[in-house]
Amino acid sequence: MTHPPTAADRSAPILSVRDLHKTYGRGPSRFDALRGVSLDIRDGESIAIVGKSGSGKSTLMHVLALLDQPSQGTLLLDGQDTRQLRGTRLNLARNKIFGFVFQQFFLTGSQTVLENVTLPLKIAGVGRRARRYRAMSALEQLELGDKAKNKAIDLSGGQKQRVVIARALVNDPRIIFADEPTGNLDSTTGRVVEDILFALNREQGITLVIVTHDEELAARCDRRIHVRDGVIVDGEQVAA
């Protein structure tokens, strides 16, 4: 599916960054990870951030997901300046709006699949029964209902990544950030995981931000942003 041009006019940007800079260290060890990035991510689109390792694509994702603060520049979430988001409100935004899918899964192996999936709801303070119900329906959506009581460590790679997607999904996020979601999977399983992510984007309107160096995966997104040395080098330019 390609993004129809009209959708850009129809939906407002959920995330909007202007002239984003991110610098690590100072003096001789100073490293500029981002050097002036401007970008709009519209509600409901799927976007690929493509680049080699060290290009700054992961840093960009971290800033977009409010995990890292930019050194300079503005980041608007629903038109609101995120610099005003602090403490409880920042945590609430992280908990309610974003879901994460990582290449390395970051599951707690000794806990059951269900416990792993309920973690965001537990953090949100959702009650035990509601937590269980919502986690089970997320797992069933990903056809993992029968694995709920298994230890996370006993699952295969593809199953683990589906558990991670269930965990990202369980709190009804508006954006899912996927950092190399298929990087640790063989191509067949990788394709299944991709299909699930794009189906969520298509059917539930969840905005999808995929960070990858896999051109094939990037090609399935509505839009591709190529990052090199901390700047966007091509891809569809943002209408300022």
């Binding site: 971290h62 997901a65 995990l67 890292d68 403490g87 409880t88 920042l90 945590n91 609430l92 935004a93 992280r94 908990n95 309610k96 974003f98 994460f100 990582f102 290449q103 390395q104 970051f106 707690t108 000794s110 973690l119 965001p120 537990k122 953090i123 949100a124 303070g125």
Partner: protein
């Protein structure tokens, strides 16, 4: 994350690394065990002393003597000047003298501000006691003042309101005097003999009404206790034939004060007695030495327990630091999912407190079992001569405070690792290496 989930998660996390948690809990266990036993020892012995206080003297009673020679150096072992009003109360280098008091001086004690009543102590020197035609034995005789009690093995206390001549004997006199047991001595006659001022020996027939247990520092355990009628009778007998100037001379007096007085007020009262030329010592003064020694021993033992706890606290720090290190990624993930730093801190502190609770609860429980068992053993074997003594006793307040204290120490130990966990940057934590 709500409080219930937080505690639940923290408890679950402690059991994730079972071997490590067990070892840390064991270290705290040692500290808690020692602390509970040592403070139990203090509680047991001090409780015994408190129980014995009633036997030694009432809390509102002060024993007053006349200061012999205020200028004399108590440590001076050289010869003293003769004082016709003075009697020696000790032999050898430690000899000290007490000046006899006249009735007028007894009244002067009563005039001291804060003294409610005063009564001279009639000291009676017995020659011997004898039951029937049995062997005579040397004995001392004393009387009870209001508020004092006798720890009885059998019978009753001497009745001060009775006109009959009554006496209690220590349990150690039962067999020598020829009785089968303590019960058999009750209501039996006893002959008391004393010598009067004209060196004539008199004897009086009295009735044994009670047998007293041996007790720590109480006169009833070592000598006879007479009722008022007997005391008066014997004193009169003893004074027969004394020259007039030696009649009604007293070595000491018993004075009563308001029992609501504070320690500071009692000290002021003693100062006023000194100003009037007397010196007073209360029951608390006499017991003070015992309690001070025991408190010091318990304190030293508690210091050892505290050192064990300190070592255990470092164990907690170490355990949790390792745990934080291992769970860096998990912490990062939780923070990325919107868990606040405060909650992360609370999660790890709760783990520390729970480890502290486990160690202290197990330590206290086992210490109570061991302590009670040891107490029963010592009570029936080594220390059976001191009835009523429970060597190790536990009161719920102290035990509860011990657990709380250790949980507090665990919390403090947990703050460093917990703060480190709370400071973790989600991006750093999630970075793949």
């Amino acid at each position: 994350m709500n409080a219930g989930d937080l505690i639940g998660t923290a408890i679950a996390n402690t059991f994730r690394s079972r071997a490590r948690t067990t070892l840390t809990v064991l270290a705290i266990f040692v500290g808690a065990f020692t602390l509970t036993l040592t403070s139990g020892l203090g509680t047991g012995i001090n409780r015994y002393i408190d129980d014995t206080v009633a036997g030694i003297g009432a809390a509102d009673v002060i024993t007053v003597t006349k200061t012999a020679d205020t200028a004399a150096d108590q440590t001076d072992t050289g010869p003293r000047e003769y004082d016709p009003e003075s009697v020696l109360t000790g032999n050898g280098p430690a000899q000290s003298s007490v000046t006899l008091m006249t009735d007028a001086e007894i009244e002067a004690i009563g005039d001291v501000d804060g003294i409610l009543a005063v009564e001279p102590v009639k000291s009676v020197q017995l020659d011997y006691v004898q039951h029937g035609d049995g062997t005579p034995y040397v004995a001392t005789l004393g009387a009870l003042v209001a508020g004092q009690s006798v720890q009885l093995a059998a019978g009753a206390e001497p009745d001060d309101d009775s006109t009959a001549l009554q006496v209690t004997i220590p349990v150690s006199y039962v067999e020598p005097l020829g009785f089968a047991d303590a019960g058999a001595a009750i209501d039996q006659p006893l002959t008391l003999a004393l010598t009067d001022g004209a060196f004539t020996q008199h004897s009086t027939e009295v009735t044994i009404v009670g047998v007293a247990e041996e007790a720590l520092a109480a006169t009833s355990g070592t000598g006879l206790v007479a009722n008022r009628a007997l005391e008066d009778d014997l004193h009169q007998l003893q004074s027969t034939g004394l020259p007039t100037q030696q009649l009604d001379r007293w070595t000491q007096a018993t004075a009563w004060f308001d029992e609501d007085l504070t320690v500071a007020q009692i000290d002021q009262l003693k100062d006023r007695l000194v100003d009037a030329g007397f010196s007073g010592s209360t029951t608390a003064d006499q017991l003070g030495a015992f309690t001070t020694v025991i408190d010091t021993i318990v304190l030293v033992l508690n210091v050892f327990a505290a050192i064990a706890l300190l070592a255990a606290a470092f164990g907690i720090v170490n355990t949790l630091l390792m745990s934080v290190q291992e769970r860096t990624r998990e912490i990062g993930l939780m923070k990325a999912m919107g868990m606040g730093s405060g909650r992360v801190f609370a999660l790890f502190s709760t783990e520390a407190v729970f480890i502290g609770f486990l160690g202290s609860a197990i330590g206290v429980a086992i210490a109570m079992i061991v302590g009670t068992a040891a107490s029963t053993f010592f009570g029936s074997a080594l220390l059976s001569d001191l009835p009523g003594l429970t060597v190790v006793a536990f009161d719920p307040l102290t035990v509860g405070l011990t657990i709380l204290l250790i949980m507090g120490v665990a919390f403090l130990a947990g703050t460093l690792p917990a703060a480190r966990a709370a400071r973790k940057d989600p991006v750093e934590a999630l970075r793949y290496e």
